[in-house]
Symmetry: D2
Subunit: 348 residues, 4 copies
Amino acid sequence: MAKVRAAVVGAAGYAGAEAVRILCAHPGFELTCITSTGDAGKRMSELYPALLGICDLEFQPHDAAAVAAQADVAFLAVPHTASLAMTPQLVEAGVQVVDLSADYRIADAQVYEAWYGAAHTSPELLAQAVYALPEVAREQIAAKPPVISCPGCYPTASALACLPLAEAGLLGEGPVVIAALSGVSGAGRKASAKTHFCNADESVGLYGLPHRHTPEIAQTLSRGAGRPVEVLFTPHLVPMVRGLLATAYLPLAKPLSDEEAQALYAARYEGEPFVTALPLGMMPQTAWVEGSNRAQVGVKVAPGGAMLIASCAIDNLVKGAAGQAVQAANIAFGFDEAAGLDGSCPVV
Amino acid sequence: MAKVRAAVVGAAGYAGAEAVRILCAHPGFELTCITSTGDAGKRMSELYPALLGICDLEFQPHDAAAVAAQADVAFLAVPHTASLAMTPQLVEAGVQVVDLSADYRIADAQVYEAWYGAAHTSPELLAQAVYALPEVAREQIAAKPPVISCPGCYPTASALACLPLAEAGLLGEGPVVIAALSGVSGAGRKASAKTHFCNADESVGLYGLPHRHTPEIAQTLSRGAGRPVEVLFTPHLVPMVRGLLATAYLPLAKPLSDEEAQALYAARYEGEPFVTALPLGMMPQTAWVEGSNRAQVGVKVAPGGAMLIASCAIDNLVKGAAGQAVQAANIAFGFDEAAGLDGSCPVV
Amino acid sequence: MAKVRAAVVGAAGYAGAEAVRILCAHPGFELTCITSTGDAGKRMSELYPALLGICDLEFQPHDAAAVAAQADVAFLAVPHTASLAMTPQLVEAGVQVVDLSADYRIADAQVYEAWYGAAHTSPELLAQAVYALPEVAREQIAAKPPVISCPGCYPTASALACLPLAEAGLLGEGPVVIAALSGVSGAGRKASAKTHFCNADESVGLYGLPHRHTPEIAQTLSRGAGRPVEVLFTPHLVPMVRGLLATAYLPLAKPLSDEEAQALYAARYEGEPFVTALPLGMMPQTAWVEGSNRAQVGVKVAPGGAMLIASCAIDNLVKGAAGQAVQAANIAFGFDEAAGLDGSCPVV
Amino acid sequence: MAKVRAAVVGAAGYAGAEAVRILCAHPGFELTCITSTGDAGKRMSELYPALLGICDLEFQPHDAAAVAAQADVAFLAVPHTASLAMTPQLVEAGVQVVDLSADYRIADAQVYEAWYGAAHTSPELLAQAVYALPEVAREQIAAKPPVISCPGCYPTASALACLPLAEAGLLGEGPVVIAALSGVSGAGRKASAKTHFCNADESVGLYGLPHRHTPEIAQTLSRGAGRPVEVLFTPHLVPMVRGLLATAYLPLAKPLSDEEAQALYAARYEGEPFVTALPLGMMPQTAWVEGSNRAQVGVKVAPGGAMLIASCAIDNLVKGAAGQAVQAANIAFGFDEAAGLDGSCPVV
């Protein structure tokens, strides 16, 4: 069977490069085109010598028509607002868009504008876009909406930590506090004071308050709970390359035992190919999912019984970005949901 | 003027070794005695080659009479419950005890027993002990109580992040959530799976739930607020040697602007030799206080205005342990509060 | 076609666990049995939660007959001297042995005894064992000798850095100095002062002089050069989990230009599935091969022209251990040499 | 006694900032002026929040007359060739120059030009400059030459590793190979792909071949040996902030035992305030000298007895830059050689 031709738009950044890595070994997609306006003319392996002999494609400058001529599906790993401009052209040209940016995640264009500081210029596509967290939107993704909008890294881990409780109607009143920790690759490939080894190593701190992922997380939890949920989200940068942990402090609508909480999560994620509810007594470590599309979630009722602590670990570049995008594309194109994503990750 | 003779009991562990490092350069104390039952006979510099030529003292097995013969003050850097046994003997022998363990921190012996799993065997000394956070107990420390009980690392950072709001009567109803991050030295010198480089590096996760520092934090915040405060405390281990960050999510009793919040913290810490309220827009990084006794606190009102985010960075082994102990001892013995602690730390 | 049944003996250690990880995704081998005397009864995923759902086999205590009943091939990831005892029994029982230990690497039993402090107890098998560096012994491996003896991590990188020059008769007189750097996983899974995060992080140093890999490296270079080559090998421990770099300083028999040196290496490794001679101007980084079975080699003639600098990067647990063992087993069992080893590694 | 007024020129970089940190706590120097053309108008503590409350001076644009009006001594922490322009003006204006750049290190202007690609424009001052490695040039430094030219980081560690053997006439024929490892702060404060956390972390590699420090090292060893010594120097970048290790492979002119080698080094460094010859069996770790001006040297005769392995650890920013500059200035201005440099460093 002919493979589905795939392009990665914005392939020079970390999420794009990770999409390239995954697609190169995918049984159903064939990577035919990579774009990067800033690095046009260079080869992928010049920027990422780990891909020497694996992907030596040349970056093309972005052009919707050229992408459409080469690809059936385009993974957009571009900064927010850049996708706003590119997506309508690609959709028009008949390309299935899988968007890793924030541009089609927030259903309410006004909320988008308030947090991202830019008007939403394609409200029609926004209305048709699907927020593609496979664990909640599998059928909608399978229906191949014009824009498959992939969740952000923090929202993915936050959602997986909170949704079982919210969906079960067990989330109590009051704000959901989420303390998240991300490796430095989350800050992108651009060299800056923040990403300088001597600043990032051996140090931790909060950053980016209030963070733009807040409304996206609130949207997901509100949908899950069936009522507005207030979210207080704070990200910390920690000295590691990959990995993201979101620890949520969830008010309980009624007391739960540890066992009940774990059973709730285990039942919710049973059969999910990429999400594991850990047994009681285990809390996830980001290293346990590094390099893979898997998520691990651990729960513990707080002393006193009024709150649940739920912690979720993912690889920010895989389940938090490129891997989840491929997972959604697998669903949309009818491949096994785990196709190209079943590799195990380093065990140490 | 003759120096005050000092002993470090339990000098082989990280907190003890840090006390040794500080005391070796102290203008008022003279380190005369180090003990470690497990390493008796070895030299300090065998265990810590960084101290070659700086401290080549030999570890003695612990013996209260021997310590009393050699020292006026003893810094106890021993595991909890070990201090319970040693402290009464040292006090009896006329030694000023500065205890870094948890044994005299919790005023309510029943709470201690519930969390530490051991009966409190010296309730009389417990009643006289001072919880020696200098920023709240300067005068009580100066009165030289028999036991100067030094706060734990997490409780120190948590207290400095929360107290200005609590003391001002601005802490609202509901639990105070504290998400804390610690470097691996907080887990101690013992080699274990948890502290193995290959497990600790490039990974983060929650651990030790519920954590024993919870009641200590609740005690401090309750004293500050003048009413019982519920605390939900969760520690994460992060891949760095030193440094501790406590981020607190504080319900506000009434709305505050960012400016008001910052001004409150700045006023509270004005004149404090070791605590800095950062200007608005800055949040602390642990690297900025690494190796020093300083603490930095940053604040930000959460979107919506119902909660305050307050984040405090310390070096877990200095302000979180040995440095704070020396700070308290400086107060007790009438030295400049910053004596021996004024060294700046590496800027990168 | 039925898969070849495989056992990993000593699967609880890092090299063994890496073999497990690779074999679980291998198209031709089926992992049927894992042993660990110390962890018998536990599940693989208890020790390595990254393998939850991927390998949940239970460790068996080692028993040659039991292994033989379950497996056609056994990968021995046990400490040196342990293999000496196990290998003859397994061979006797008809199991193909792929030995990752040092026990069958040194052809001269006296040299083995001098460096490893133990008599060699199976000289007959030693005489039949093949030193299984696929890049030099492909045909011998394909002949399925009773013991396929896999090179050590340092010797693999050192050999790949030096062999093209030695084989071309261009290695001059004088010792070959090799300065090598290894990540901490090279020190094994055992928790010790050396592997404690607080000792290994943010520090580098030499260790283990003289190192036992010295005679193995000398044997390989001497075979390549066709005359005895003296080797001065020194390993450094560096603060990373995986990765190994060997930089060799090679006396030149006659002057070479950079271009000639690079061309020599490129020609030698052309067609090799796992070894890449980097273009001039590039030197390898261990991150570029992390998690993969690939090796990268860069060369540069030293100022003055009398010496060649050749640097090789590998992942110590893959090309330096488990990956290379599977590569050799692929050859022996007639699979594609890259079967199960073609996954790309994380690009950041 | 009035303090000696000091300026740090180029104070925004890492070496300059480290000089600032040291001078702020120095008993004899008073830091009066910091310059940085690129950051003029900002405060030191804006760039380095670790110095909040310790140094809040404002960066001035560089101007020789202004520096001369404010300072008796200027520490120049500027890129090579920048010092060439600044130094003559400062000397002219009566300022004692302590130069941390490479511009006055190489006595032969032609060698300088060949390696640094710039003509040497102040040969008269070059002729008067003293290469200020205190362990070999204490008296010349005390004579207050117009330019005190401080050794580079790699040359300092290399010299301390090799000089005892070279000075004793025991260095044999053949090149001295030096494999060095540096933390990322050695690459400077500029954000670049090389210093991006995601590239530098969890990876090692060679860089910068041939490296400009080669002729400086050769000059020092040749002076020590009293004859030309050929040096093959290769630096590796390793994932840590600070620390530098130079391991030298030294041909022996005659066989030495381990004990003889160690005794030679111990005798050479006896009484040196900052250099320690480690006992046999110990090799230095960079963490053991981190944050301090100390150097540790370990030696081991290679198997066969023809070569000596000597390894030296320093903190690249202290003994390798700012600390050594202050050490030299202490000598020149008649202070205790260890003034301001006696602080111990973190023990973990």
